[in-house]
């Protein structure tokens, strides 16, 4: 039997599918990048995997672990291509999604022609059922099984693929939802069923129901896809485990996907933040703003004290309007907190009605792609601008494996230049600057708007296009240090290799701090922990490798916004409860600058169990001779506003740089999957992991 000694990370993005193979013994990384095949994503996965494994001279049988991130769930939601979902709820509230719950913010407030997000489920696919629980989970009205069965018969005629059930206060007592699930399975035997009390049993009906409906919406397709891919991988000869990245930054076994499909939303971006966290630790930088720029969007995330920030208020499909999340659908599962703006390499530049140049949010994606790809794209993109400005090399795109055409970029930008009365190169510079401003707003959302000073952080730039823009984005905030990891275009795939398994559980139980029932809290947290541990064990994690983190959501009594506070390990006691309360008070003071003396209230109880799994180590490089000229490839003209225009810029082959090398900008550092721009006034040094550190001279 072959030795299982390789780890594989597979990340499907909007434009590219990336694979990283790590060889455990040698710490070496092998990579592959292919264009995503949107209609059959598995095709690109298998092709890229073969390519990377061939490079490593490895066989699938030698692979210990394949971890996969996919945008499939997100795309299903954004493109509204998910399953036909029927929604079953408590009588009187069937219109909840049709009525909606949407804030109108910013300029939209003055727009009388505004539309609201289409409802998650139409009235026709909604069934109201006679039943009711109170807030304590006591039955007020028993479930009317006969009427429910008749309703199901009507629903069956609509032919749903999936059913989501959310009854009021089911977080306190799931009995009615479970009974309903039995009825559904009897009357609609082949549909996918999602219960709110299982998906995410937290109070506040709209958000819980939305999370449940979203699960049902992506569930059948996601589990179908994962199972099919699993079969392909097995056919290819994989013997090791196959796992999926979750939005929380933890991974789950592929077979867990059917149980928690919505957790695969945003899995690629989460992987990127995990990579940044890991790399940050390696170079002693626990405070990081991750900056991930791909083909369609740029995303900023925050890592403080070595931990990525997690939100429970994510809205999938939302957009940032004036820095405020608007539109979209809430999902309550833990999601790595990212601010996303529609500014990626493929973002299209255009001229608005008022004659101003705009960038994004529409993207040319993988097809037709930027004009310079020559795949038929005729609209100018950020990548086209970067090519004309001299930041990208037409002859060395993807390490020379893909040809790109500057003349097509120029032809695409010319009509805009004409409209604006500018030279094409001025337009290209405008596109570059506007894209940088957009990306800056994402950084602002995760830092300044949260009361955090960005200057105390380093920017970790990755994604194919990230390192082209990162220094100029960091400059807007006077952030002193930008780090660019090796193979930045494949960082998310690398993140997959260094992440642990995770299971998240929640329960709502309101309890005044003063009258906290320690025994009840201990019991509740104990149950959640047991469930989480059991779920991990079922995925093959040994008990000794499980680490449990517990949090309590605390608020001041009569308030409505909670803060999640971690509690110390060990048995739950009076001291634990006190620690939660004190942790809350100090966090509250830090965030809001006031410290009321009011009584506290415990609201939700959360458990995250992590299953520590074997991970590849990254190799350290010995210092080279300190002379980076060995990597000098040549000189070309690149545009720098601060230098007054195009200037001679040294071009380096990054793969030939060694640890301890230092060079000064202007310089452009090329590697197969990305390009780093070090502008004039900046210098770059290379660390022992071959990360670039760019700083102001």
């Amino acid at each position: 039997m072959a030795k299982a000694s390789y780890f594989v990370g597979v990340d499907i993005g909007g434009t590219f599918t990336d694979v990283v193979v790590a060889e455990a013994a040698t710490h070496r990384l092998y990579t592959a990048k292919t264009l995503t095949t949107p209609d059959h994503p598995a095709q690109a996965v298998i092709a890229a995997m073969r390519q990377a494994l061939d490079a490593a001279q490895a066989t699938p049988a030698e692979v210990q672990r394949v971890v996969h991130a996919t945008t499939l769930a997100t795309n299903l939601i954004l493109e509204r291509k998910g399953s036909k979902v029927a929604y079953i709820t408590t009588k009187g509230f069937g219109d909840m999604f049709v009525i909606g719950k949407e804030r109108i913010v910013g300029a939209d407030r003055y727009n009388v022609m505004i539309e609201k997000s289409p409802p998650l489920v139409s009235r026709r696919l909604t069934l109201e059922v006679e039943e009711r629980m109170d807030r304590r989970g006591q039955v007020v009205t028993p479930l009317d099984q006969r009427a429910a069965a008749q309703g199901l018969a009507r629903l069956a005629r609509e032919g749903p693929d999936a059913v989501a059930v959310c009854f009021f206060h089911s977080y306190a007592n799931p009995a009615h939802e479970r009974a309903m699930a039995d009825l559904v399975r009897r009357h609609l035997p082949n549909v996918y069923v999602a219960l709110s009390s299982e998906i995410w049993p937290e109070f506040r009906e709209f958000e819980r129901a939305s999370t449940t409906v979203m699960s049902a919406y992506v569930g059948p397709t996601i589990s179908g896809y994962v199972h099919a891919l699993d079969a392909e991988l097995r056919k290819m000869g994989l013997k090791g485990s196959f796992e999926i990245m979750q939005s929380s930054g933890g991974v789950m076994a592929a077979e867990a996907v059917a149980r928690k499909p919505i957790h695969s939303v945003e899995s690629g971006p989460a992987a990127g933040v995990i990579a940044a966290t890991h790399l940050g630790k390696l170079c002693n930088q626990p405070n990081i703003i991750s900056f991930d720029m791909g083909g369609t969007t740029a995303k900023a995330g925050l890592i403080r004290h070595g931990k990525p920030s997690i939100t429970n208020d994510f809205r999938v499909g939302s957009h940032l309007s004036s820095g405020i999340r608007a539109g979209g659908y809430p999902i309550k599962i833990p999601v790595i907190d990212l601010a996303e703006v529609g500014a990626g390499g493929g973002s299209i530049a255009w001229v608005d009605a008022g004659g101003a140049l705009q960038v994004g949010p529409s993207s040319a994606g993988a097809a037709p792609g930027p004009a310079c790809y020559g795949f038929g794209g005729e609209q100018p993109t950020v990548t086209d601008a970067n090519l004309l400005l001299g930041y990208l090399d037409a002859d060395y795109f993807l390490g020379g494996r893909m040809r790109i055409y500057p003349d097509r970029s120029l032809a695409a930008i010319a009509p805009l230049a004409k409209k604006l009365g500018l030279e094409p190169l001025q337009v290209a510079r405008g596109i570059y600057e506007i894209a940088n401003t957009h990306m800056g707003s994402a950084v602002r959302v995760v830092t300044i708007q949260r009361g955090i000073d960005p200057r105390e952080f380093a920017v970790m730039a990755f994604g194919g296009a990230g390192p082209v823009h990162a220094v100029k984005v960091a400059e807007q905030f006077e952030i002193p240090n930008v780090i660019v990891p090796v193979s930045p275009g494949l960082a998310s795939a690398l993140g997959l290799l260094v992440s642990d398994m995770a299971e998240d559980y929640v329960a709502t139980m309101l309890m005044d701090g003063r009258e906290a029932d320690v025994a009840r809290i201990a019991q509740l947290l104990g149950e959640l922990e047991q469930n989480a541990r059991a779920a991990l064990r079922a995925q093959g994690v040994a008990d000794s490798n499980i680490v449990v983190q517990r949090l309590i959501d605390v608020r001041f009594k009569h308030q409505s916004h909670e803060l999640s506070v971690p509690i110390p390990a060990g048995p739950v006691s009076e001291a634990t409860v006190k620690a939660a309360e004190e942790g809350f008070r100090s966090l509250y003071h830090e965030l809001y600058g006031v410290l009321p003396n009011d009584p506290c209230q415990f609201v939700n109880f959360r458990v995250r169990a992590s299953g520590v799994v074997p991970k590849p180590e990254l190799s350290r490089a010995a210092p080279g001779d300190g002379n980076p000229r060995r990597a000098l490839r040549g000189v070309r003209k690149a545009y720098f506003a601060e230098a007054g225009g195009f200037i001679d810029t040294e071009i380096y082959d990054r793969t030939r740089l060694r640890a301890a090398d230092q060079l000064t900008g202007p310089a452009i550092l090329e590697e197969p999957d990305s390009t780093t721009v070090c502008p004039p006034g900046y210098a770059t040094k290379v660390d022992e992991y071959l990360n670039l550190h760019i700083y102001r001279k």
Partner: protein, 579 residues
Amino acid sequence: MRDAVLLEVIKNAMATIAEEIGIVAVRSAYSTAVKESADASAAVCDCEGQVIAQSLGAPLMHLSSLRWSPRELMKDFPPHTMKDGDVFLFNDQFRGGIHSNDIMVFKPVFSAGQPRFLTSALIHVADLGGLSAGGLPATATEYFHEGLMLPPVKLYDGGRLNEDLVRIISANSRTPEKVMGDIRSMVGGCNVGARRLVELIDKYGLEQLHGLVRELLDYTERLTRAEIAKIPPGTYRGSYVIEDDGVVPDKTYTVRVAVTVNGSDCHFDFTGTDRQARGAINAAFSQALSGVVYALRCFLDPAIPMNEGCFRPLTFTMPPGTMVNPTPPAACNARMATVQAVIDAIFQALSQAVPDRALAASGNVHVYTMNGADRSAGRIWSYMDPVIGSLGARSVKDGLDGMPISLFGGADRPSVEAYEIEYPVRFNRFRLWTDSGGAGKWRGGLGLHREVTALEDAEVTVRAADRCVIPPPGIMGGKPAKGGGWVINLGTDRQIDLPSKKTNQPLHAGDTLSMFISGGGGFGDPMDRAPELVAADVAAGAVSIEAAARDYGVIVNPVSFEVDTAATHKLRAQRRRNP
């Protein structure tokens, strides 16, 4: 180029500061209205009272108060008398406030020993006394009935808390801890905002920052003027009738406006508007102006920033003693009746100039406050639950079902489970109200039907701002929506039909309050509505099969929901002959 970039940076920084004040205030607030539905606003202004930025996430209905109030504050406390660490409270509705419960907090921001800016926040606080718990006594006839009035007063004097003021406010509130919690949350927001402004001053220097702010306001004024200049010059008139004031029977009130567009200037003249009402439907002038500014901005480019520059081209004639500029002792808490009448009168006027932005009238706010019958200290509970009627039909599309005019900031609905966890009530229903949208070529948005049962003996104060008896009318041949209303124990032998405004109506444990909130008016002749759209409405339950025939002349198959084309053709032809 350099300045344009810096200007953008300052614009965003100021907006972010205003936003952050609002976020902190909402996140840490106690009042149910605020915490479950973000009923809060925030702003930054300079020491001349010029608004520099307002929170972008806040509903617009309060924002003009934060434009007018600082000027009044500085009359009593001129900037040179302010000290670092001062914090002011203010709610006087005759000097820029709205009504007792909408408290504003202002904090001067110091640099080099001088106040340079003011941060401000406004939220609807929990309870400040008055006829009914939680404020909003529907049948108040004097401001004395609406709760404690605060002229500009110092809560902090040079950083020292004014304990006497805290004692006065606490002594006048049914829920002193909650009300002080709300005030503290606003102070917290203003503190955070002040800190950010100091950082901004440190970064750019006072002189450069003031220069950039000046440029920002001038630039906004230029944008606003350019947009106003696109409206054909002339005087356009509009009016709207308010059905009652909840106190004087059988009397309506009319808001009249003449909008004069002259080049890039715009004048609003409310001469001819009725005298102020005895009931609480009057709109304090800053409230009326929130309506004016909102309505005008719906006819301009929505992307123009909201600051002083927007106000500069505007002038107003608001005769004192009228609905739009009431004088003491007018009660003002049910003011949305007048504010929305102002908005619809201006929509009507400006639609003549810019027909493609025309909009039929929308539903108005229904709010009830419920409190326990046991009012003894420490026992009382009370909450407020606002539900807002839906958007009228527009010149090219339907209104929005269950979504109000965006003055209210959308439909950020409170959580039923959260209410039930905190109060002894149970909700039975929250649905769209079939057939409540005005028929038209474009249908008005559907109104709402909400139902709640008291589980303990309680009292309820109901306040439908307007549009129950006289429903939101349609335009261009569109039909009116259904008017709203309140009923206790609907369909039982204990049914009580409530007037639109009623203070402290007793509810026994088990009694159910039903509220019907009007939809929006229709646009254009319903006989011109595409039959397929009518059939889709029938299939979705928005329009009943009977109303499809009666109001639209469309015959829909009750099983397949397909249009019976021949029968429809015949019925419509008949209707057109004998409308």
